[in-house]
Amino acid sequence: MHERRKTLALAAAGASAMMVLTACSGGGSGPAEGDREITWVINSLPAAWASISGAGGSVYTVQMLSGVVPHTGVFQPDGSYEYDLDILAEEPVVINDDLDEGPFQYSFTLAEDAVWSDGTPMTGEDLRVTAMMYASPDEGYCTTCDSRGTTNADMIDTMEVDGKTITITLEEGLSDPEWMSLFDSTSAGGGFYPSHLAEENGWDVDDPDQLGEFFTWLHEARTEWSGGPWMIVEGDLENQVVKEPNPEWWGDPVQLDRIIMPFNTDEGTFVNAFNNGEFDGANPAQFSTDVVTQLEGAPNATVTIGEGNIWEHIDFNTENEWLQDVELRRAIFTAIDRDDIASRTYGEAYPEYELKNNHMFGSDSEYYVDHITPSGQGSGDTDAALEILEEAGYELDGDTLMLDGEQVGPFRLRTTDTVIRNNSVQLIQAHLAEIGVETTIEMTDNLGEMLGGQDYDIVEFGWSGFPYFTSNPEQFWHSESGSNFGGLSNEEIDELAEATGSAPNRDEAAEYANQAMEILVEEAYVLPLLADPQYFFVNDRVTNIEDNLNTSLRATYNIGEWALAE
């Protein structure tokens, strides 16, 4: 008995000593003492080391490469656009936007002291090679480059390089109101790439096959080069990357020693890990009411919620015999109570939600015009809806809407099976029942097939939109667009959509877009609900940091300025 007690006592003492010693040593989590270090979570795995390709081009790759891939400009949190004058010598210029005078032409000039992390100067050649990789293979620059954003690059006719300057001429008759996006943070690669590394690796960038090899190498080899304030010093695509200051950075020096970006795929772990000091913050792509609520209760957290870039809307299939009647469509949209939907889906965690009253522009945009409120659509005004119906010859038979003795509908109300959308369509069903319109809810797990096959009468889904907008009206509402799923055909809208895409500048393009939306509301074709909210949280010890919902970079858009509170 005595011996057993001694053994137990020894074991207990050993365990206690181990706990104390390991506790004193600080374990493995937490920064090394004295280091100014931030751990910023990216909430999924980046698929590649460059974001140009379709497979690599996720927001996670873009955020991982923040402060590494140089870019010429970025939209600010307030919606304004700022050129990066560390990278550029001056704001880029449009040389010609009058197509009667000649082809559309513009140029970028890089800063004199702009260099890559190996000391090689940045030149117009870097921009030229990047544009070649952004273009689709049909353009003939690159055989195997599968760029995820080819629109701007495919318009290019010629590129002339003169040292730090590149002059770009578009093909005859084409104009590009969003030309400045070619090398900015929204471009396919989130900026531009070091062409001299192709030569160093033995590839000739003017050979389409060899440029393809360089393209693949950029995506597969760990990014050890940098053209920004930070460079990746270690890491992989499965766990995390570690960034340290780029010694060749010529701009304002960074105020941290290190930034660690772990990839964390489970939002359920955020709260514990954040409270445990294992990371300082994140800007997740998905909204989670539970996580937000818990983080808002954390004593050292700043949490902000704002409108994301996915906006929900309700569309009609205009090829349904009943829904061809614009008066019925107007009445249905009028009966839908958007505020009810928004407050019941997001209201608890995000009571400041804002209904979307313009299909393209957020209320903070200089181009914003409220098209929806004056129309009464989305107001849930049942009386007004019934009045529209009565004037159009419809009548209520008990709880059923009738026209010429025949029941109107019932309509198939469809969406994808998420909690938010599920709740949303149930509310819409209840709203429409108020005006005698019967709907049957059907969920789908194949949105593309359902939309493409017009397999719905009324549908709720989301579009993704960024501050760049000029190609959207043509894609969404042009009668010949494959993405105009509901089949609306309106010549005026077609003309305005085309004019938006070919306007000489954004201001003019926005005017055309707003005119198109005005007609769209009259047609009662698409009813915007609200932009899905997104959240951001950060430990209060970090300063000079804020979310930026106008770019895929999110909070990392100013990663060079992040600092620790004194």
Partner: protein
Amino acid sequence: MLVYTVRRVLGAIPVLLLASVLTFVLIDLSGDPLADLRVMQPPPDPEVIQLQSERLYLDRSMPERYWLWMTGVGGNGDIGLLQGKFGPSTQSATYDIGANIAERLGVTLRLVGAAMVFALGLAILTGVVSAMRQYSKLDYTLTFVGFLALAMPTFWFAGIVQQAGVSFNELVGTQFFATVGDGTYQAQGLSPWGRFTNALAYMTLPTIVLMLTSFASWSRYQRTSMLEVLNSDYVRLARAKGLPNRVVVRRHALRTALIPLTTVVAVGMAAIIDGTVLTERVFQWRGLGEFFIQAVTANDSFALMAWLMLSGTTVILANLIADLLYGVLDPRIRYE
């Protein structure tokens, strides 16, 4: 013993073949690997879908695909289990399933190994103690703890353990327990002692979670088995001969009582592998469990098949090892 081992290994081949057929058919019928591509907005060019379909061999019939998957004959050089190639991935054209499995195997083995060692050690200890003190307060307590552990869902328990780790850190004012990651990067440049404490910090919580369910069931088996042996004639004889209790338990009872546990542990390998899926997810370890979740999320059928075949092979191997261990534990068992 060598002949027996070879015979068992050869006997495992038809089992694996049957497993491969079942795995292939079930995964193949379970969904369209290109489903995500087809629902993209705006819809991709039909040519892109066609190219992806050809790359993933979806343009071939099911029997043809199975043949390709097994042999690689007629493929593009990226497929053929018998050649050690697991097939193309939907995740990207450059995603190497085999290399990913190899890389993650070490991570998972570290977790599974630690969990198995601790679960076994604790199960044997508590099982023996419970049996020797049957119907005592200690026995009731251990029984209660065992059933409680059995009843707890892994994901829920993992959250509780994480929270406990955070609370401990807050209490002692350190960051000893880490709740996410496996700590590989944090270990770089540390002294041997630093690496040890770093490993302890990252491994403790997930190991506790993973060992829990196995420990609970194994300890119950060990208790029952030990009780049966303690009440057997030869143990009564050993006691009657005046052997000290310690010698009776260690030398005569425990060895025999371990035989049923060996079988249970071999069968339980499947449960441990299942447990890694949730544990690795919650603690963000990039092991085979996380590989499985990624494969499911990406509709990556070849990656899923690779994972299932690996799990099946592991279970078959564990059973083989268990069979061989019987001879070590019980000298009466001879292999012919």
